[in-house]
Amino acid sequence: LPTEQSLDVFSLQLASIRNELGKVIVGLRDVVDGVLTALLAGGHVLLEGVPGLGKTTLLRTLSQALQLSYSRIQFTPDLMPADIVGSMVMETGERGIKSLRFQQGPIFAHLVLADEINRATPKTQSALLEAMQERTVTSGAATHQLEEPFLVMATQNPIEMEGTYPLPEAQLDRFLMKILVGYPSRSELDAIIERTVTPAQNHVERVVDREQILQLRRTAREVLVAAHVRDFAARLILATQPEQPEAHALAVAYIRYGSSPRGAQAVIQSGRVRALMNGRWNVSIDDLKAVAPACLRHRVILNFDAHAEGKTADQILSEILASIPTAASAI
């Protein structure tokens, strides 16, 4: 049960994780918080950015800081689903009896890094669907349960179109957050260069184990969400759906498909973690506004007009977020 010390413990452990990540990762504070949010909210995260920004390094460092099992899958066009989830292999016993045994794939880990996920074919990408949503893997007649915590961290390159396959909407919807990784600032770049030229490498220690991660998750689920905050989340989701009467004008004009109810769940869960990070036991509307772009930008499918006019999902979402009325604004 949460106690008065729970908040302190939560903050302390998060600070220790950030500290370990900071040994390797320079800057990217929002990206780190987003990844930790996805980890504690029980979701998956998709990092998008041009090559060389430290996406893979960040996820690998995180796996080192957490006392969890880690596997990396390099997605390529010839990657098959069985290469991810595993397959049945024939095994010879001690007495020479051959039998079939399920060989677990790299998906059976706490932290799974799906590097350049858009390079695999949709068939292979779809192998992650069941694992990401139900936390199970079905092979043959057997269904295998994945152990919690289970976090898929995927990266993709937005500028490289040749030989890539855009993620299907169903696959995108299973990611709690899509975090955009930007270029570092000048000071951050100086720090990156300095660490590169320094012969001594920082060693990342494991600061949080599996049980502590699960405890942090349970604490996050206890955070209170008031009715008006829930109502704000519902209004936000409805405003992105162009066929709804509550739809925003920009949604009607530029959005082909709005967010699913899973988007509302993602916003609320992410808001809970953010509230805990800020030392509160309640989710505020500002928490929702802070996490909404990362939670919804990959769930909003833009139409041709938006692409033709250069509109991005973030621009439309920021307009929608600013237009949702609250009871406080009426007084």
Binding site: E222, L224, H228, A275, W281, N282, T326, A328
Partner: protein, 471 residues
């Protein structure tokens, strides 16, 4: 501890709600007052007969009702006020969440309530929700300024009887006088019946009743004169008579009848107080409904008639000098707007200078009527100058008074004006207010709807008196 946190939170939100409610009531009150002020403005602009204090009352009640409804409809709930508190304090919805989970005893709710209670202990409602003067105050001030401007404009065109006290008094008397007018009308009908009975008796009794009949006639004519000519106009008539220096003119003969406070020729006060008051009220009721637009139109027409004296070449009052105009006005009281206006100005002067002479003139008139001769033996009424038909002159004079009354009312009408008048030699000339209006058929019958209810009794008495006098 938990109850203490709850009480602290609830006290904070209740205090904030009171402040929000007070600000809202203030804002809606200003809104309602703005609506209420439009009532007098509307009356000032329209000024129609039926638009008086009931319209003002309707606007005031509408403003009050609208304000009350808006306040009631937007009555803030505790939860909403808590959200507003969070928004203004930037406390990340901690207070509103605590209010929402006020009855919950889960560990997270208790912990969150403790955090919110700590915030509530440091918060002052007065600083979060200060008294805010609504911006609609500017609208209210502008509306009030508009109303005052219109009132001042109306006052300037309504001189000299529109000082604030008199305006308020006339507004108050308007409500009272309407009832009195009805009572007076009823009394007038009763008096008429009594007059009829007396006339029948007097006919039966022969020549001995001629004195009573003459007294009744005086009484009726005094009431009609009061209704048709207010004291100011009576004074104007007197002044006009004085300017004209025609002791045998009709206006001179009318003077004792028009002065409500003056004793009759036999030294008696007026027969009944009601008709005298009613006559004053008739004037008030007649003046008050005129709107600014109609007043402005009348003023412009007067001004144009002054600028274009040749507009009515047949009118004798346009070209002669002032003295002759006054004499002509006494001859034809309702003829030409210019003549009418100058007649009024002359009457105002006479109201101050020669009030005492009216009694004497009235006595002369009565003596003249009894004897059937002219006291001076030299002057006649208007175009009939030299003609000693004083009975006809009296009738014309009285018709002129009535035509003034109708002419002023006809200022609000367009088209032809038809008057009820008995067939005979009487001719009406009431070009005083509206050149386009004409009394086409003197023998025709005017619609009773054209005559206000309050005037009908007097009009009827007047024509009855005329008929009797002709007999």
């Amino acid at each position: 501890m938990g109850d203490c946190d709850r009480e602290r939170l609830v006290a904070l939100v209740r205090g904030a709600r009171r402040r929000v409610l007070a600000n809202r009531v203030l804002r809606e009150s200003v809104f309602g007052a703005t609506i209420a002020i439009w009532g007098p403005i509307f009356v000032l602009l329209s000024g129609a007969y039926g638009l008086a204090w009931p319209i003002v009352l309707v606007f005031a009640l509408t403003g009050i009702a609208t304000s009350a409804l808006r306040v009631r409809r937007r009555l803030p709930a505790m939860y909403d006020v808590a959200q507003a508190l969070d928004a203004r304090l930037q406390t990340d919805d901690q207070i509103s969440t605590a209010i929402h989970f006020l009855g919950s005893e889960t560990p997270a709710a208790v912990l969150q309530r403790q955090c919110a209670a700590r915030l509530a202990g440091r918060t002052q409602c007065r600083s979060v929700f200060p008294t805010v003067w609504p911006r609609s105050l500017y609208g209210l001030a502008a509306t009030a300024l508009l109303g005052l401007t219109l009132w001042a404009f109306r006052s300037s065109t309504d001189a000299p009887s529109t000082t604030p006290e008199r305006l308020v008094k006339s507004l108050l008397q308007k409500w009272i006088s309407s009832e009195q007018l009805v009572e007076a009308a009823l009394k007038g009908e009763k008096q008429e019946d009594r007059f009829e009975q007396r006339n029948e008796r007097s006919r039966a009794e022969g020549s001995a009743a001629s004195t009573n009949e003459a007294r009744d006639e005086e009484r009726v004519q005094s009431m009609v004169g009061q209704a048709a000519a207010p004291p100011d106009e009576a004074a104007e008539d007197r002044q006009q008579t004085a300017d004209a220096s025609s002791p045998g003119s009709v206006s001179e003969n009318r003077s004792p009848e028009r002065d409500p406070g003056q004793a009759g020729p036999d030294g008696q006060q007026p027969h009944d107080g009601a008709p005298t008051d009613a006559g004053r009220d008739v004037r008030n009721a007649h003046q008050a409904p005129e709107g600014l637009l109609s007043r402005l139109r009348d003023r412009v027409k007067e001004f144009l008639s002054h600028l274009q004296p040749s507009r009515a070449p047949s009118s004798p009052s346009s070209s002669p000098p002032k003295e002759s105009q006054a004499a002509d006005a006494s001859e034809a009281p309702g003829e030409g707007s210019e003549g009418g206006s100058e007649q009024q100005s002359g009457q105002q002067k006479a109201a101050v200078s020669a009030p005492a002479q009216d009694g004497k003139d009235a006595a002369d008139l009565q003596q003249q009527e009894r004897t059937g001769g002219d006291p001076t033996g030299s002057n006649g009424p208007g175009s009939e100058e030299g003609n000693k038909q004083f009975e006809l002159a009296q009738q014309r004079a009285d018709m002129g008074k009535l035509s003034e009354l109708y002419a002023r009312r006809s200022a609000a009408l367009t088209g032809a004006v038809t008057l009820e008048a008995p067939a005979g030699e009487q001719r009406l000339a009431t070009a005083e207010s509206d050149p386009s209006a004409s009394h086409a058929n003197p023998a025709g019958v005017v619609s009773r709807d054209r005559i206000p209810l309050a005037y009908q009794a007097y009009v009827k008495q007047y024509f009855d008196a005329l008929r009797r006098s002709r007999k």
